[in-house]
């Protein structure tokens, strides 16, 4: 086995800096080590992906970075400050779009504005401005004019687009994505890769994408971290050098396929070891 330790020192300008973090759940016999000495650094405006077998603690990573859960050991810094509680500058999207059925799509997207300052106190007076912003965002993900539909009238792919809009409406500096496209059919998924890449190139927020789809990771990310099965460790990190915007055609290029294979090798080695 080749552990390929990634002791790459965090660059000084890292926006998200996960520094030697361990996370342990429960106690006694139900004690599980979800993360073990994991280090990840994402520069400001960077796009990082974390891939690994299921149950490797990828989702714990999301909760740690957004401050919903404290690490057992190690420190997490976002934008230079150590994370001690919920971040307030993060947007999140999950495999399940979790839209609220009693609100129209537009009102769903505007939910974060009712919570995050300074928007929450400005929303009532400047509603038209914010509605305009939400509609522009809807248009940019291809949901032009669907704002007044109810979420349950939208298809799965459209709901996921709306969920993406909701995670971006308050213009977060950090976007955390937990397998956002995993429940979609292959065609819709690939379409949404393009949508996400486009929005990211326009706005340049920092993204951490957790996924088990290797093609998705290589298509979207600048840098990919491979995690092992529990206890989750970072066993490899791989830069993706391709120019942007990347097209679906590029995913069939030999260099692209080589990276996918390389990642797959790491993961199958981890699975064999587990």
């Amino acid at each position: 086995m080749d552990p390929a330790p990634t002791a790459d020192p965090a660059p000084p300008d890292a926006f998200v800096d996960i520094d030697d973090v361990s996370l342990v759940y429960g106690r006694g016999t139900s004690r599980t080590v979800a993360l073990h000495h994991a280090s990840i650094a994402v520069p400001r405006g960077g796009f990082a992906a974390v891939v690994g077998p299921s149950g490797c603690g990828k989702s714990s990573l999301m909760k740690l970075v957004t401050g919903l859960m404290p690490p057992t050991r190690g420190t997490i810094r976002v934008d230079g400050a150590t994370v001690t509680g919920p971040l307030k500058i993060a947007g999140m999207a999950f495999q399940n779009p979790t839209l609220l059925p009693w609100r129209s799509t537009l009102d769903n997207i505007m939910l974060p504005l009712e919570i995050v300052e300074p928007h929450a106190s400005r929303l009532r007076r400047n509603r038209a401005e914010y509605v305009g912003r939400a509609e522009a965002l809807l248009a940019s993900v291809g949901l032009d004019g669907f704002g007044n539909r109810n979420p349950w009238q939208l298809s799965g792919g459209m709901q996921q687009r709306a969920s993406l809009c909701r995670s971006l409406i308050h213009e977060p500096d950090l976007l955390m994505l937990d397998e956002p496209f995993a429940a979609l059919d292959a065609f819709t998924r690939e379409e949404l890769w393009g949508v996400l890449q486009k929005v990211w190139m326009e706005r340049r927020f920092t993204v951490v994408l957790v996924t088990h789809d290797l093609r998705e990771a290589v298509y979207l990310a600048d840098r990919i971290y491979v995690m092992s099965a529990r206890p989750g460790r970072i066993v490899a990190a791989r830069d993706v050098p391709f120019a942007r915007p990347r097209s679906l055609e590029d995913t069939f290029a030999p260099e692209f396929v080589d990276i996918v294979h390389e990642l797959r090798d790491h993961i199958s080695r981890e699975r064999a070891a587990a």
């Binding site: 909760k63 993060a90 947007g91 999950f94 979790t98 009693w102 995050v116 009238q153 995670s167």
Partner: protein
């Protein structure tokens, strides 16, 4: 774009749906009428004595004859039912939200609530009579005691169904517990709450009638007890019919309220059914 909705059914399909809907709406009335007719005929054919089982026509005659008295007692029953129900809604919401949002309160209160709910309310009425005398107060309290439990359970269940991911989204935006409750928890539990109202109001009615039967000088329960002591069995049955009619009426009222306020919950279901059905 691959995401298309609105596959409109043909006009023919729509029409057949309407036909079935009309039959569905009329079916309970049809069943009731058929049952009454069979009952009437059976009583006459087998010559059942009127103090054992009166025929529907006798019951109806009794209803007409005593309608003024019945109306007064029915009003009293409705009054105690609604008082008990109103308190049950308030208490049910408060306790339901408390139990649904706080793990500690859930652990602390739930076993007690279960124990309390398991006590037959008939057994409590004599105690209430000792404390409050006979009449309106014990009836309203019995109605309250029966009605508040389903509201508590449903509100708590509604709050418990909030998706953890959604809570994460809101927490990562810096939302307070109170804000999450207002924006997501309460709206999410409204369908459960309104569904429980239908059950609670009928249970409140049952509670009122139980209490009136044991200790009261007014109300349908009292009327029935009084009539049975005089062997006026048609009037007893008339009382039963009135209670049943009251129950259906208030149930229908709250079912309407439910669809008005939480239509999104059932509309989502209709859309899904229609989306997969198609004929």
């Amino acid at each position: 774009m691959s995401d298309m909705i609105d596959d409109l059914p043909t006009e023919e399909e729509t029409r057949s749906r309407f036909g079935r809907a009309a039959l569905e709406n009329a079916s309970p009335v049809i069943i009731a009428i058929v049952t009454l007719i069979v009952w009437e005929i059976a009583c006459r054919v087998f010559d059942v004595p009127r103090f054992v089982l009166p025929t529907p026509s006798m019951i109806f005659a009794s209803l007409v004859k005593w309608h003024a008295v019945i109306a007064t007692h029915a009003a009293q029953t409705l009054y105690t039912t609604l008082i008990g129900f109103a308190f049950a809604v308030v208490a049910g919401l408060v306790i339901g939200i408390a139990v649904g949002t706080s793990r500690l309160l859930y652990k602390a209160l739930y076993p007690i609530l279960i124990a309390f709910n398991s006590v037959p309310k008939v057994a409590i009425v004599p105690v209430l009579v000792i404390w409050f005398g006979i009449g309106t107060i014990p009836a309203a309290i019995t109605a309250f005691l029966l009605a508040f439990f389903p509201i508590v359970v449903n509100v708590a269940a509604g709050l418990a169904t909030v998706e953890p991911e959604l809570e994460d989204v809101l927490r990562s935006l810096g939302a307070s517990k109170r804000k999450i409750l207002m924006k997501v928890g309460l709206p999410r539990s409204m369908p459960y709450f309104f569904a429980s109202l239908k059950v609670a109001i009928t249970l409140a009615l049952v509670g009122s009638v139980i209490s009136e039967t044991i200790a009261s000088n007014a109300g349908i329960g009292y009327l029935m007890l009084n009539a049975s002591s005089r062997f006026d069995v048609p009037l007893v049955f008339a009382g039963l019919f009135v209670v049943a009619a009251l129950g259906v009426a208030i149930y229908a009222l709250f079912a309407t309220v439910e669809t008005r306020f939480t239509g999104w919950a059932t509309r989502a279901q209709t859309a899904r059914l229609e989306g997969t059905g198609g004929g």
